[in-house]
Symmetry: C2
């Protein structure tokens, strides 16, 4: 018997060296998981297959016909719920913009080595399910409960720790009204696709994706805060490896632009013709309503207000913005930035942390304005 | 007016330097496009969002209500067909395994710099539409026609050339019976998703993905072979940049394994427990039926036959295979290889070409067999 151990294949987190490019391991994650192609910002609701996906381990093989959700721990009446029972509760549908906490990581210097998102780990869907507080009210919250711990069916190893994916929410968040947390079984009016948690997932409007536990199979109320890997080791804002850090929770504001014109295949640089170019996109914040979006067409030297779509009652979903730009021949750098009603704004310098979380540095879009289709300027 | 030209943002194809790792440009393509997470080999039909996607430029904004397909050139009666008319023809449904011609590119040394696929650019769907030969018979093929040229609505720049995406098929292929080429409007029983060509695409069973023109808007019969970029510049097997090369057409055989056990998040190395482990996956070839799949559990030193599912009439779709392996503690390298009825087989050494096409080198899966969950060997 060889002397093997899990540390042989599962290394601690690390930062890339200053000149170190993307590794094949990071590329393998980028090939499995995927972002929103930015032109898909045109859809109010992101169609299936264009919404970002991050799966820590494997997409588990699940069966809605036999699926059971248990609600236990510090409750008065433990529950075991199958899908027909869950569907028999009054349903709620919420439009939610979801974003991976690691969005922007691959743009950081130094770069934390993990899923290498650039800016595209986002999507908006309508999620239908039972409010979590309905289920907790039915079970009855017992005295002393402080957190709800959610367990998914996905199993793997991370930084040497074998685990089921687990995250918790403080009880006031789990039972809150704004946002109202959902135990969701439909995405855009259809059963959840496998990669989005089929048949059941948590949806926590306004929070980064790590909170929306997929393939949800168990909810346990506890009298102490949860200290599992995804809560206490991963998903914290740390400046160094011995910094306990603060937990990652709500989504920082971000605006993205639909890249105008058409792209070069390899560089993704855009090409437009001289004249008026419509600029548009979406902006969101998990803290409060987005109240302003500004664009710059001169590499961040000057900024101009854009026109925001009026509030539509979907408080946890992105907001459409638009502006007009008169393009002149030459190479241009476009950027866009959002701020919200609580005063959070996108930074012009990278907000670095060791896990590479919430890097909402403004997006940059390179655009070549060409006078003629044949390529002469 | 600045002196700008398209070559400023669109460079010629190149090979990576020997030590050059994945660039941010390659990463941006990997974040947009995506492969099949290998555990999704478990599904006979790949669910929406898990099938591989490669989009050369942007996903165009299309509208099925106003979409028109023109059939013109060397035909007796030019046609302009809207979606209701296309749906009024007798429909055909075909199960087809589709693979990107660039699958395996990022494993090559030297690595052609382009979409950096590892092994996962594949998927299987049921495509429903009108046989192309039905439409060509209706239009009437005029004397002298030798090729059909297909134009999609996606527009961009590639290697300095501004273009709509266009590809051709020789007329005997376009009007052939095996495979029967489809003008498809449904994928797995639903309208095509935007990223798969909504509302209309070509499906050429057995051919690599570049032939299956998406967002299909025009078919033109010509009396000379098509010499457009995607036919004569890209998608050719070349050994050097001045080698005219041979065209990329049918899919070379490949077998893939569902990685057994569970993964480490970052390295994707698998973990299993000692004892019997079921190995299974899919195998396909665009030339002929897959007639054999072999696995190796000792890093390619010995190979064993696997059990193939009986032929099910879906001649253009992947075939399921399975085997059993008794895992013992230690680190193991698993591989799998397919061969087909015409004698094509997967190579054990990389089949290099300058575009990085059809690299069907055998897959390798690293598996750590651990005696105990706590990590001691």
């Amino acid at each position: 018997m060889e002397d093997v151990r899990i540390g042989d294949i599962s290394a601690p987190g690390r930062l890339a060296e200053p000149e170190e490019a993307i590794s094949l391991e990071e590329l393998a994650l980028a090939a499995r998981n995927h972002g929103l192609p930015l032109e898909a910002l045109r859809y109010d609701l992101t169609p299936a297959g264009l919404h970002y996906v991050l799966v820590h381990y494997d997409i588990p093989a699940t069966d809605a016909d036999t699926w059971q959700l248990t609600v236990r721990g510090l409750v008065e009446t433990p529950l075991t719920l199958d899908m027909p029972t869950l569907r028999s509760y009054p349903a709620r549908t919420q439009r939610v913009t979801m974003e991976c906490a690691g969005n922007g990581r691959a743009r950081l210097a130094p770069r934390p080595v993990s899923q290498p998102w650039l800016v595209e780990a986002v999507g908006t869907a309508e999620w239908t399910g039972v409010p979590l507080r309905t289920l907790l009210a039915e079970a009855g919250v017992a005295a002393g409960a402080v957190e709800a711990v959610f367990t998914g069916a996905d199993h793997g190893v991370e930084r040497g720790v074998e685990q089921d994916y687990q995250r918790s929410l403080p009880l006031p968040v789990a039972t809150g009204e704004a946002p109202e947390v959902l135990v969701a079984y439909e995405m855009n009016g259809r059963p959840l696709p496998p990669q989005h948690g089929h048949p059941l997932r948590l949806v926590v409007p306004g929070w980064y994706g790590m909170a929306h536990v997929k393939w949800l199979r168990d909810i346990a109320l506890t009298d102490t805060p949860f200290t599992g890997f995804q809560q206490e080791v991963a998903y914290r804002y740390r400046q160094s490896s011995d910094d306990p850090g603060e937990p990652v929770t709500r989504i920082a504001p971000r605006a993205l632009m639909i890249p105008p014109g058409f792209p070069d295949f390899m560089s993704r640089t855009r090409v437009v013709r001289p004249g008026r170019v419509r600029l548009e996109g979406r902006a969101w914040s998990g803290h409060a309503l987005v109240t302003g979006v500004e664009v710059s067409t001169d590499d961040g030297r000057t900024w101009n207000k854009t026109e925001l779509a009026p509030p539509d009652g979907h408080d946890w979903a992105w907001r459409h913005w638009r502006a007009s730009w008169t393009a002149t021949p030459g190479l241009h750098e476009l950027s866009v930035r959002a701020h919200d009603a609580e005063g959070h704004a996108q930074p012009l310098d990278q907000p670095w942390n060791r896990g590479g979380f919430a890097n909402n540095l403004v997006q940059r879009v390179s655009v070549l304005c060409l006078a003629e289709p044949d390529g002469s300027g």
